[in-house]
Symmetry: C2
Subunit: 158 residues, 2 copies
């Protein structure tokens, strides 16, 4: 795959960043920018991740979502292991350009390493206090993580 | 307003965090958790922010979105200045409980300090490389930020 890269502009003024046409993303002190990924059809939130400059450039150039895995500390072409590649239908940037929104189509329909379609399969009851119990919004796994990932380490950190 | 608080559980195992009913959020080394806020009706991404434990507890207990402002370093009841309060219709947590998804109704329909409905009003053309130009998806401001915020400092940091 060719790796044509994207030029990011230097951040020079609030007006340029908020009201201009320059792509001048703000990477944090770890070199990362926050990414929000929703299903382009249903609007459902699939996952929230991070990109470094290389991942953002590759995502724009190839149209397939690339992230930076904080737990594994590597560039991460989403779907390279599981097959659930995310095709980017639309890529947006927020007002101060420190967040990217990907609207994607997911082949196979799964985005969560636990096996669910979305990472967000539990709800906190609003209006409650004290001890709260999570409620499940999705109880059916789309795939078996053991079959797909084998004995790869679980990315969740306590 | 009463400030009944919510008890968060200690994180003890991956199974508990990923597949249990305990609310055991992971706050980062700054004491913050990432929040993604979408319009409950349209599915549109309105903003991405952060909560500390107090903001998360208040959001759950009151049903109105509270954040922690990193630029101002204060608890932030969204809409306290602008009037654009976010009523939480659904609050979800992700697999490893380091991200919160709020599905909200916004009175007045604006969530962005620049004056747009959503913070995400510009698109990066996918499949491009080299110099890219942002494309505008929303060119009509819902409110005039100068009227609403007066001379309060702009939260965007370069």
């Amino acid at each position: 795959m060719s790796t044509a890269s994207v030029n990011f502009k230097a951040r020079q003024s609030i007006e340029q960043v908020e009201e201009g046409n320059d792509l001048a993303p703000k990477f944090d002190d770890r070199g990362l920018i926050t990414v929000v990924t929703t299903d382009a059809t249903s609007g459902e939130l699939l996952m929230q991740g991070y990109m470094n400059a290389e991942a953002l450039s590759l995502t724009i150039a190839t149209g397939e979502a690339h992230y930076f895995s904080r737990s594994r500390e590597v560039l991460w072409h989403k779907g390279a292991t599981s097959g659930f590649v995310q095709k980017v239908r639309e890529l947006l940037v927020d007002d101060d350009q420190d967040c990217i929104w990907l609207r994607v189509d997911v082949s196979g329909g799964a985005s969560c390493h636990v096996g669910y379609r979305s990472c967000f399969y539990r709800r906190v009851p609003v209006g409650s206090s004290g001890d709260v119990e999570l409620e499940w919004t999705d109880t059916e796994k789309v795939f078996d993580p053991v079959e797909v990932y084998g004995d790869a380490p679980n990315p969740t950190k306590l």
